[in-house]
């Protein structure tokens, strides 16, 4: 039963990835007329148009091109950039690593912090600490990412001079130097994703705390923190893990903006540059990778949710 559900969700995930890849590929077919002239403008030289035709393989029907594009993608070959003529993979891989490092660092800080604060808010429900945590999380939800970023720069970089305002990472850097340089963007991302995680953790734990068996534990005289850690938390873990995975998926969007704020040389910055230069192969490769991460994290969230549901584990 439970594996059938999980398998069905997995199959749905595979279909989603396929549909998304078709959408990303076919966006170049959106324009009436010729993509090359649309990108270059009316005054384009025939040579430049021919170059783009060759690069995007426009002389074959769409389904053939899609097959080749997907095959290349699976082999790690994303074609050549239209602006630099270098293979996209050569430019992309180091940037992808930098972005993963940034998102990973943010997740490493955000996840434990959000769960701890969510637990605290649930234990002290409706008291001062809970109100402070809730107000704070509401405030961080309603401001744009770049506001949070510049606010942190003004306070922590220019006024207190604790961190550098630009996150310049270079290849030869040691790990501590690197983490120090990434501190502010990672902190911004942490704030951006933490609020939702915190609120959902709080809601999930409060939900469990209202069950009869918690009442029973309380009547037996078990200490409040032990009730939360030993009795409530294990039962709230399923929804919490789901929420964590869903919010990590949101890092995909946050990282694009935050990289631009801090001039961090990652994939988000690369994608934004490529969009303004209308460098299609780069855009398609970046969007497909971001989309894959997003879809996979969503898939993970759902499957964990299915596996963690005790009602599904013991079929009647």
């Amino acid at each position: 039963m439970i594996f059938k559900l999980a398998l069905r969700r997995l199959a749905l995930g595979v279909i989603t990835i396929f549909v998304v890849s078709v959408l990303i590929f076919s966006v170049t077919e959106l324009l009436p007329g010729d993509v090359a002239t649309a990108i270059l403008g009316q005054g384009a030289t025939p040579e430049a148009v021919a170059e783009i035709h060759r690069e995007l393989d426009l002389d074959h029907p769409a389904y053939v091109r899609y097959g080749r594009w997907l095959e290349g993608f699976l082999k790690g070959d994303f074609g050549n950039s239209l602006t630099t003529n270098e293979p996209v993979s050569v430019q992309l891989v180091p940037r992808l690593m930098d972005t993963l490092a940034l998102a990973g660092l943010a997740a490493l800080v955000a996840v434990p912090l959000a769960i701890a604060l969510g637990l605290l808010a649930a234990i002290f429900e409706d008291r001062a600490l809970d109100k402070i945590i809730s107000t704070f999380s509401l405030a961080t939800i309603s401001v744009p990412e770049f506001f949070m970023g510049y606010l942190l720069i003004i306070i922590l970089a220019t006024n207190l001079q604790l961190f550098p305002s630009l996150a310049l990472v270079e290849p030869g850097m040691g790990i501590f130097e690197r983490v120090y340089a990434m501190a502010l963007p990672a902190l911004t991302l942490t704030f951006v994703v933490m609020a939702h995680m915190m609120r959902m953790t709080r809601a999930a734990v409060i939900d469990v705390l209202q069950r009869p068996y918690i009442e029973m534990a309380r009547l037996k005289g078990i200490k409040p923190w032990r009730i939360v850690i030993q009795h409530a938390l294990p039962n709230a873990l399923g929804p919490i893990v789901t929420v964590v995975a869903l919010n990590l998926a949101y890092l995909v969007v946050g990282v694009v903006v935050v990289e631009v704020v801090f001039v961090y040389p990652g994939m988000g910055q690369y994608l934004v540059d490529a969009v303004s230069k209308r460098d299609m192969p780069v855009v398609q490769a970046c969007v497909l990778i971001f989309a894959l991460v997003y879809v996979l994290l969503n898939l993970l969230a759902d499957i964990v949710g299915i596996l963690a549901n005790p009602r599904l584990r013991h079929p009647r």
Binding site: T16, V19, V20, L23, I24, V27, T28, L30, L31, V35, A38, I39, S142, V143, P144, E145, F146, F147, Y150, L151, I153, I154, T158, N159, S165, L166, Y250, V252, V253, V256, V257, V260, V261, L271, V272, A274, V275, S276, R278, D279, M280, V283, Q284, V287, F290, A291, Y294, V295
Partner: protein, 280 residues
Amino acid sequence: MMKAFFRALREASLSAWIGLVIVVGNALCAILAGWIAPYDPADPVGGLWEGFTAEHWLGTDQLGRDMLSRMLEGGQLTIGIALAVTALAFVIGVLGGFIAALGRGAVDQVLSRIVDALMAIPTLLFALLVLSVMGTSVPVLIVVIAILESTRVFRLARALALDLAAMDFVEVARLRGESMLWIMRREILPNTTLPLMSEFGLRFCFVVLFISTLSFLGLGIQPPAADWGGLVRENAQAINFGIAAPLIPAAAIAILTVGVNLVVDWMLARQGKAMLERPA
């Protein structure tokens, strides 16, 4: 009608009042921008990044233009475009959602699967993808964001209409031989206005954030015009000198979003109360 409105205002909580003042203030500033701006927003009238003074309430920008005038013009752009996008998104989403709910079967399946596909990846990624092919211009921005946001409206409108479609009065109208359009306009729409209106407020906030983000990335409104997101981008360099200029437009976006949210909360609370008070 007016009387009920004023009674509702009298009973409104403090947070609702704050929200209303923010929303009405923003709307007035956006409408009157051209008349109340103290300077021409395109004219360099001072030094670069001057602080808050009596002549320049919000200081000056990176070219010495009056920040207050730039903010008023930017607000007009941000709010105006966001309203157009939200309205278009609602026309597409509500129409699609109602058709799917009333049409059922194949129509519903096709529309719902298209929406699923569009919602499978973050809207920002989709927008970047489409803008890289179509190029950035205001009409393209409006249509692209409206289509992406309409997916959320579609889901809500479809769910609301599905509930109503099972009700007796819709069945009666259908048996009477009324057309689908008539049923949508006369039976479904009047019964969904309140939830749709609060959703309008929330969608508007998302659209403001969306457009601002795109402009901040340099892919939204193009210079010399600048919306609030564009103003953040233009003044971003100031941050390195410890000048808070980019925080002004960013804060304006945050305040507007909070204000609209407060008003929506108030509307939802009143809606809940009205449901309880309704005679059974």
